[in-house]
Amino acid sequence: MLLKLGILALVPVFAAAAFAGAYFYYYEGSSVRDAPARVPYEEIAPYTAPSQVTPDSPAIQVRNGLLVVDALHRNAFKETEVTELVSKASNRGYTVEFLGSFVPERVEARLAVLEEKLRGADTLLVILPRDAYTEAEAALVERFVEKGGKLLLVSDPSRTHQINSLAKRFGLNFQPDYLYDTVEYDQNFRHIFVSDFQPDALTAGLDSILLEYAGSVRSSGPGLAFAGPNTKSSILDTEETLNPIAWGDSPNVLALGDFTFMVPSNSFVLDNDRFISNIADFMTDSERRFDLGDFPYFYESGPDADVDILLGQSSLYNIGLRMRNGLASNDIASQISGIEDTSRDSVFLGLYDDVAQVSHYLQAAGVRIDDSLGTPFGPELELEGTSVVALAQDGDRDMLVALADSEDTLSDAVDSLIRGSFRDSLVSDYVGVRE
């Protein structure tokens, strides 16, 4: 009986052995059960906007002037995007005029418009030109800056541009990079804070500004704002401090490596609004000098402007009227006057016989009229068939003198002044002679 039980016991024993054998044949160990750790999403901080509106400076100094905004070069911005800056310039008394309409223009047409408008402009704002400035256009702007005009160059690495075609004239180079900071940033690593400023009127009152998509600017002039220690350039592997804002080689030229900071709602973050106000102050503080080639823009335009037209002889009255109409077409009011007021801007129209009435102005301009006509850099000329125009400036007063050998010649000279063709006859910045 015991033997039979023993034999019976073999069944489960060998069943278990077979089971285990089969198991270990296929399963040599235990399966690793993974219990993934919980991802700590709660550690991610909620976004809080660093909004802080700094109101515009209440002490706005109102000045007259013309701010010209370039839209001749298919510039990559919309008018609505510069509303903040432009309205601040306007609040400061400047007239704002957009050149062109953001569409492709013929190079010759562009040059003609730029040349004409820069004559009367105090400040030129160039934002993201997609068409390059030609050498002739850049030379025009360079001359404009030399004459005290302000130039603001604005770029942005998130939009295509050819701004260096103009910027290089002023020792500036907008780098093909963008600045970023992965340590301290607003919302996105490309939205950098700038808190290190060179003391300057442009940086007055600024603690920190936010630049949304800034690029660096290399300049032969001084830097104005410096990126923080954690800010890096996307392409420049450099330890040197990066400048998103810098002066050009002239104190009249300012370069901004970011455009988006001035666009609402970015314009109302941190001290951005204050910075835009400071830029508006810079743009409307032009010490633009005008010469004869800028006729008639050396006279102030607008409702307060007033110019006396003085006639050497009463027979020149009709020519005086044409001059008055010509000035009026440029929004410059004038009247024919019999007596010279040395505190007012004036135009003197006369014949060579009237030279004694304006001899001191001609002398100041280096013009001599006796038996012949002598000018600073021109040859001696016979008087017959000639006319001379000279601009004398005394402080804020501009006195334009136009003399000719006959009424017809004077009439032609006035017409050419109004049309602008007189500029071909300039022998210096302040004297022109027609033969």
Binding site: L3, P12, A17, A18, S31
Partner: protein, 352 residues
């Protein structure tokens, strides 16, 4: 039984022999072994298997995520599959779809080991999916990483709504203002980074700050920096999966093929009630060999000529009764286009 004569003698001799203890013992052993093996076969039916999911170059979209999720679900349901190997090549794709695949891969791994074999490119949302696995292999020639988000926003100054649009809150139309939206995108980036840092805890050898730079690494550097576990290919992945599952002798299952077969069968059952079959829809005979995502479908959603039907095409067949794009506008009276949020975990490469 009493059998006379010679036959009876033989019978008695046989009975004695069969009831002898040593014969009974042999029989008991045989019965025991057979019973043990039968019990084993009952408890562990068939040879243990490793499910292989193949995801050739796939931009993760809602459709491809649907199909991949079907594969993952099948691998989870099939008890004979003891471990899963996913052969993955993907630059990522839609943020929500990529995260869905990460979540589902992670869920699968809670039940059975999942080993990812990264082929050419496993970037962004593809890399996020890989974070759900137990172990990952990459090749030296692979490109791995690219943690981050790509999104699109309104322009700096969005256009204002027209006067004929009535809406009940300042963000009803847009859902956000631009700054908040960019902030939300940054949060997504942080969440992605948290996933990687958590899943690669103890193995990652770069900081979170470094990680979110969005760099893409060679397979060699990915292993060196802890973004992947080891260098190797599919066979290494199979061996590792077997090791993690504790199995030594195994078969493999082409999960793509099985899912496609299963789907076609289900579809046939549905179509049978309409008196037709899948064959009537000109689906190629060979199904399932191609994974989703490498979906070569034209704009109408139909299979390209000579192509292989994919799961989401079959799904469309079920939902719309046709592979042709004849979906009606769900809001025909609504005068505006409907946009989905454009947000991606995607490696887009260098734009020309």
């Amino acid at each position: 039984m009493n059998v006379p004569g010679k036959l009876g003698s033989l019978y008695r001799a046989l009975l004695r022999t069969l009831t002898a203890w040593y014969v009974l013992a042999v029989m008991a052993v045989a019965v025991g072994v057979a019973g043990g093996l039968l019990a084993f076969m009952f408890i562990f039916p068939g040879k243990p298997k490793i499910g292989v999911i193949e995801i050739p170059y796939t931009v993760i979209s809602e459709d491809s995520a649907y199909s991949i999720n079907q594969f993952i679900d099948y691998a989870r349901r099939d008890d004979s599959i003891k471990a899963v190997v996913i052969k993955l090549t993907s630059p990522g794709g839609g943020a929500a779809s990529s995260e869905r695949l990460y979540i589902e891969t992670r869920r699968l791994r809670e039940e059975k080991p999942v080993v990812i074999s990264m082929d050419g490119l496993v970037a962004s949302g593809g890399y996020m999916m890989a974070m759900g696995a137990s172990y990952s292999y990459t090749q030296t020639s692979s490109l791995v990483g690219n943690v981050g988000v790509v999104a699109f926003s309104d322009p700096l100054i969005p256009s204002l709504p027209a006067e004929n649009r009535i809406f009940t809150g300042p963000y009803k139309m847009s859902g956000f203002n631009r700054r908040e939206w960019i902030g939300s995108v940054d949060q997504l980036k942080s969440a992605f980074a948290k996933i990687v840092v958590t899943e690669r805890a103890g193995r990652l050898r770069i900081s979170e700050d470094e990680l979110v730079q969005g760099r893409i690494y060679s397979g060699l550097d990915a292993v060196r920096l802890g973004l992947a576990d080891d260098l190797g290919g599919e066979s290494d992945a199979l061996r590792k999966a077997a090791e993690l599952a504790g199995i030594s002798r195994y078969g493999t299952v082409d999960v793509n093929l099985e899912v496609m077969r299963e789907t076609v069968q289900e579809l046939d059952q549905i179509l049978a009630s309409y008196g037709t079959r899948v064959d009537a829809f000109d689906l190629p005979a060979q199904t399932g060999a191609r994974a989703p995502g490498s979906v070569a479908s034209n704009e109408t959603g139909a299979s390209d000529a000579g192509g292989i039907a994919t799961l989401h095409e079959l799904r469309d067949l079920i939902r719309f009764g046709s592979l042709e794009e004849d979906r009606e506008d769900p809001l025909p009276e609504f005068p505006l286009n409907i946009y989905r949020p454009n947000i991606y975990f995607l490696y887009v490469g260098n734009a020309p």
